[in-house]
Symmetry: C7
Subunit: 78 residues, 7 copies
């Protein structure tokens, strides 16, 4: 195992570094949400503020705060 791949830490480190920044989240069923990352837990459940759903790269519906369930997340892009 190389020095720069400590298992169990890195993907969550990137989440930690992204707090208070805008992230794009893609969930199952083709749902895309964009907002400010405010919090997350070990299950990758996350909280966004100023969240809005996206369609083809454009904002669609405003949600304010939103909790996204980690199980159903495909990707998170800071």
């Amino acid at each position: 195992m190389q020095q720069n791949t400590t298992p169990n830490s890195r993907p969550f480190d990137l989440l930690s570094d992204s707090v208070n920044k805008t992230v794009l989240v893609e969930l199952k069923d083709k749902i895309q949400m964009r907002g400010t990352l405010k919090a997350f837990d070990v299950h990758m459940n996350i909280v966004l503020e100023n969240a809005e759903s996206m369609e083809n790269g454009d904002p669609k519906t405003k949600y304010g705060k939103v909790i996204l369930r980690g199980d159903n997340i495909l990707l998170i892009s800071p």
Copy 2:
């Protein structure tokens, strides 16, 4: 890990702060429910009162009380 991202606590804190307030919940199979959050547990199973299903942003069917199973929840928006 930053001070403001205590793993395991925050997404559920937002749920706790939303008790007795109106929330929108999206489940798998394109199901949307809106109602007053009355209770939840660690599996993110939640109880809504005065719940109604939504379609394209409009109320569709009234349910009264409803238990939503956490596994199948995509997002919760207070």
Copy 3:
């Protein structure tokens, strides 16, 4: 955490209060069942009596007793 949101207890309390009452259950694959709640367990497996499947709000097929597997339940409405 507020007094009225004891994690792990409330959603199942509502189930407990609904025993011997009519409930509507929605499962994956667009299955809806209505019947008298007779029993449940910690996995949210539930037993209905006088159960009938529903389609667009109307009864479709009578089942008598039925065990519904908790994993595949989306919502339960007392």
Copy 4:
């Protein structure tokens, strides 16, 4: 918790009472099987004898004995 809802016991009690009786089982992917319940385990894996698949309420294909995997069961009706 009421006297008549001992968590963890009742749904399996109904299975136990249904041994050697005919049951209808619905699985994911719209599969329906009918047969004599011969055995089950804690995962709700079940064994049917004289099993036949059903389509719109009519028998379709005879299977003899069959093991149905609990994970993929939606409902069991004695």
Copy 5:
């Protein structure tokens, strides 16, 4: 609990009795395989020999030996 339904044993007993016999297995995504059951484990992963996929009751493609993952099995018929 009746004498003839020892939880945790029976569905796997039927698998055990079916070793070296022909079984039909249905998996998710409408996949059907038929072959000689050679082995299985507690996850219901199974090994078939002389396996062939089936379509509408007819053999389609020969696979020789095949490992089927238990998670994705719907039913096994000896």
Copy 6:
């Protein structure tokens, strides 16, 4: 339990015997991959070399090395 069905060992034994041989793997979402089995783990995650995706029995795209996630595997045929 018969002598020739030691639970927990056989399906993985067949994987072990197939190292350095060509295997066909079918995953969910109708994905088929063929390649040389180089490694696997207890989750049935596997590594193929000289891997290529297949469509209707014909090679489609070359991948070189590939890690296939065990969860989403339907079958492996040596």
Copy 7:
């Protein structure tokens, strides 16, 4: 078990060897991402840099950094 198939180690070894190299990742719902592998954890959650989604082998949308959730990964090709 052969010398060259130490269970639990090999698929993750290949991930470890691929850090700082370009990988192609396929997720459920037909999502393909290509980027530089920067990190991963035991759940196979991975971090890509200079990530872009792919469609029919061509780049489609640039994402910069992205966290891909392990649960929903089908394959990773270094």
